[in-house]
């Protein structure tokens, strides 16, 4: 008995300590949870302070954190320098790429550890809005609308509310090897004719390649025939346009191309395309501006053209992406963050960004800029961008990504009837949407 007593006493007294510590912890948890209720009026005070001056000033003691990919670091630092000069606010950069920033912001933002301003590809805007983690672009709405191209604006608008500050656009087009064909065909007829003379499957020589089984790369056909994913603006989850008559037409034409690209969809990987292109066994290869430098280095005589025209006389309409800055809704310094996003996406800095990192600007006026027009590649991509469809950004888009690839595979690999395949794809999209309710 006596022996046992002491250990228990020790346990007890150490638990006292433990309880004291954890009680504090728990107490804190309680207060943080209650804090939001008190914060509501507090959040309004900084704005009230600026109300009398009439123009926006960053909050006292503001300090911003920006998420961008590593290749944009130098540019962000450039903007940060100008921002510090103008507003006296320090800006820090952290490496979170535009492709994964929204997913991270959904968890980090409400926890209070997210960046104040972050770059994202527009197709996650819908998820970010549904989770409520991004601030609408309210103050600079008019400025942004005046500056940016229509496509870029609609990409970062959800339910009529503008959220982002676009700074760059990207889409895909056709790179070609001028040594193999001096002038790229402008329509699919020409491509098919050329393929008949050029294709030699035994030697692995092919005229034209794109990831045929992929819903991002193959959408150009459907878009060109007038099919759409969600409603006319990509915002109506109940109006799925992937099995309309137009879509079936597109599917039928898409299927015929199997003769000039006798591959199974799963075999057309980026590695394969790149190595064939490098060896001069592939004449035309589709890709985006991100591959410009690496393609230049492997194909000495490189050209770029927009997608060939479809048999119905319409140009192809590929998917495009818009990169934009967003303001974290939970930012401690929402005004400073707005000011920074506005500055970084201004015409002046878009041009600077183009010069520093080669990204395509989103500003309308810059498409007419003599420097940019002189750059054949950028001009071509911007021209193709005018003829593109921004990827729908509503959250239901994940249902498209997961069902389109198998549908394309069955049309392409198994010669399935396009109508049947697309009907079943749309049915599956509806089923998935229903299970998510």
């Amino acid at each position: 008995m006596n022996k046992m007593k002491k250990p228990w006493f020790v346990m007890a007294s150490s638990m006292v300590l433990a309880l004291a510590v954890s009680a504090c912890g728990g107490g804190n948890a309680g207060t943080t949870e209650e804090a939001p209720a008190d914060e509501t009026p507090a959040a309004e005070t900084p704005a009230e302070q600026t109300a009398d001056t009439g123009e926006l000033k960053p909050e006292e003691g503001a300090k911003l954190l920006v998420w961008e990919s590593a290749d944009q670091k130098a540019f962000i630092e450039e903007v940060a320098k100008a921002f510090k000069e103008k507003y006296g606010v320090d800006v820090e950069w952290s490496d979170v790429g535009p492709d994964k920033s929204v997913a991270q912001m959904i968890t980090d933002g409400p926890a209070g550890v997210g960046a104040d301003v972050f770059a994202a590809v527009h197709d996650r805007t819908g998820s970010a809005v549904a989770a409520g983690v991004i601030m609408p672009n309210d103050v600079f709405e008019a400025d942004t609308k005046a500056l940016m191209s229509e496509t870029a604006l609609s990409a970062v608008t959800v339910d009529g509310v503008l959220y982002g500050y676009p700074y760059s656009v990207e889409t895909t087009a056709v790179y070609y090897n001028k040594d193999l064909l001096p002038e790229a065909p402008t329509d699919w007829n020409g491509v098919v004719e050329f393929a008949k003379t050029f294709n030699k499957p035994a030697e692995n020589k092919y005229a034209y390649m794109w990831p045929a089984g992929n819903g991002y790369w193959s959408f150009g056909f459907f878009g060109g025939y007038g099919a759409y994913v969600f409603g006319s603006n990509g915002t109506d989850p109940n109006d799925i346009g992937m099995n309309t008559e137009a879509a079936v037409e597109a599917g039928k034409f898409y299927q015929t191309l199997n003769q000039i690209l006798p591959f199974k969809t799963g075999d057309i990987t980026d590695d394969v395309r790149k190595s064939l292109f490098e060896q001069g066994k592939l004449a035309m290869n589709t890709s985006g501006p991100w591959d410009k430098e690496s393609f230049k280095s492997i194909v000495p005589n490189l050209g770029l053209t927009t997608y060939p025209t479809l048999p119905n006389g319409q140009p192809m309409k590929p998917f495009s992406g818009v990169k934009a800055y967003f303001v974290n809704a939970n930012s401690k310094y929402p005004i400073a963050a707005r000011l920074f996003a506005q500055m970084a996406s201004s015409e002046e800095f878009q041009k600077k960004n183009y010069q520093m990192t080669g990204v395509l600007p989103a500003a309308k006026a810059l498409a007419e800029d003599p420097d940019i027009k002189a750059d054949e590649f950028t001009a071509t991509f911007l021209k193709q961008f005018e003829n593109s469809v921004p990827m729908p950004s509503i959250p239901e888009m994940s249902n498209y990504w997961t069902t389109i690839d198998p549908a394309l595979a069955s049309i392409w690999n198994d010669n399935a009837d396009p109508k049947t395949a697309l009907d079943s794809m749309v049915q599956q999209m509806k089923d998935l949407a229903a299970t998510a309710k």
């Binding site: 007890a12 638990m15 309680g30 949870e33 309004e44 009230e48 998820s127 198998p406």
Partner: protein
């Protein structure tokens, strides 16, 4: 502290009174009171302080947090306009945070109850000492006793708390997610609240809709895969090991090294290279087939052949492990067994069946079950080789070669469907846990056996 001579005090105040019971009852109502009654004033004060803090916590903090855990919030965050016309965030309840705070509060409360229990017990113990006419230790003695005898308990407290808050809490949290509707696109905080939905995630997953179809098919392939992968690697390893151990085989070291190499290369590299080797149009493997006048196979792009390819590639990685294992066991088999068998005129197959195989099986059966469990969760081979492709639209967010674990990965990281992923995780856990238990039971049953000793 004054220490009175307890025996006289105890017996003087009445032979029938039980100090133990009185002290325990006093401590039961007010922590520390029993200790004061036992004249352990400092200890009593400490317990009383815990009592005050604990009661405050229980009545002020706990109800709010428990309420949060039950309701998961009433009002989600939204946007509004401030006086200046600027959009501002109107903060609301974040269901997931509420859930975590609720769990923390609950665990803290349980710790408080535990300390209360210790306090009653301590009062009772010391009361008994007084009943027996022995002196109760004073505070200094208690501390000394603590240093001498029960220092490990003190040290264990910290890891114990660590386990509570960093092991138990996340696991309970993960399990609770399965009973909510926490999933994209419609139930992601902070603009939306998450609700408790009971077992409907499980019933969706097991019975209804596309989820059930996907789940059962993926589960079936997971089990087939685990069995086939384990068996092929195991017998492949035995086969190779026995070939190398044959009499008259030269350069044994070289052979062993060659077979070990695939295992020594990081899978991240070798599997990605394999992916290109098996490209059915341009991959070298099919190119060789074509040189021989054959068409080759759609290695990674046909649902059936993709499965075959994965099993084959997995053998390339997994056989070396079994081989090394079996090589060690083979050297331990007494040579005279084989010599005796030869004298009796046994054939090579008879020797294998009756001597080698029982030895090998005896030593490796528990490991075999462990490997089976490991293969169920074999993420690398599937994800790096096919990413679960070829896809099929009939599955919800899965491809035909996805295992449960890669499906779970896609559900959480690519699609944010946390509730289904959590339910899948629980089912995988149940599955693997049963195999681990089986494994442990097998181990003991082997320990008690002694046919071969």
């Amino acid at each position: 502290m004054k220490q009175r001579s307890a025996p006289s005090a105890g017996s003087a105040s009445g032979g029938t009174t039980s100090f133990a019971r009185t002290a325990a009852v006093l401590s039961l109502f007010v922590m520390g009171l029993g200790q004061w009654f036992n004249r352990q004033y400092v200890k009593g004060l400490l317990f009383f302080l815990v009592y005050i803090v604990g009661l405050l916590y229980t009545f002020v903090v706990l109800p709010r947090n428990i309420r949060g855990l039950i309701t998961l919030g009433d009002k989600a965050a939204g946007f509004g306009k401030n006086a200046q016309g600027l959009t501002v965030l109107l903060p609301g309840d974040h269901s997931i945070f509420l859930m975590i705070y609720g769990l923390i509060a609950l665990i803290t409360f349980l710790i408080f109850l535990f300390v209360w229990f210790l306090n009653v017990r301590d009062a009772h113990r010391n009361g008994k000492l007084r009943d027996a006419g022995k002196p109760v230790p004073n505070f200094g003695q208690s501390i000394r006793g603590m240093q001498e005898k029960s220092f490990p308990y003190l040290l264990l407290t910290l890891p114990g708390l660590g386990v509570l808050f960093f092991t138990i809490l996340p696991i309970v949290f993960m399990i609770l997610i399965a009973f909510t509707n926490y999933s994209a696109p419609n139930h992601i905080p902070q603009k939306n609240l998450v609700d408790w939905v009971g077992f409907s995630t499980f019933s969706n997953l097991l019975v209804y809709s596309q989820w059930a179809y996907t789940f059962w098919n993926v589960l079936a392939w997971t089990i087939i895969w685990a069995i086939v992968a384990t068996v092929t690697c195991y017998f492949g390893g035995i086969f190779v090991a026995m070939l190398i151990q044959q009499k008259g085989i030269r350069f044994k070291g070289m052979w062993r090294t060659i077979f070990i190499i695939p295992y020594a290369i990081p899978q991240f590299i070798s599997l990605l290279i394999m992916k290109n080797l098996f490209n059915s149009q341009l991959g070298p493997i099919n190119q060789y087939f074509r040189l021989l006048g054959l068409e080759g196979l759609p290695w990674l792009i046909h649902p059936f052949w993709a499965k075959v390819t994965i099993v084959a590639v997995n053998m390339w990685i997994g056989v070396p492990v079994s081989m090394v294992l079996v090589l060690g066991i083979l050297t331990a088999i007494p040579k005279d067994l084989y010599e005796a068998a030869e004298v009796d005129g046994a054939s090579a197959f008879q020797k294998f069946r009756n001597i080698t195989m029982p030895y090998v099986l005896f030593a490796t059966a528990p490991l075999l079950i462990m490997q089976f469990a490991g293969n169920i969760n074999n993420f690398n081979v599937i994800y790096l080789l096919t990413k679960g492709d070829p896809k099929t639209g009939e599955y919800a967010f899965a491809g035909t070669t996805d295992l449960l674990v890669t499906w779970l990965y896609k559900l959480t990281l690519d699609n944010q469907i946390y509730n289904v992923a959590s339910a899948v995780g629980i089912l995988i856990f149940i599955f693997i846990a049963s195999f681990s238990i089986l494994n442990f039971r097998r181990t003991r049953s082997f320990k008690e056996e002694d046919i071969l000793q």
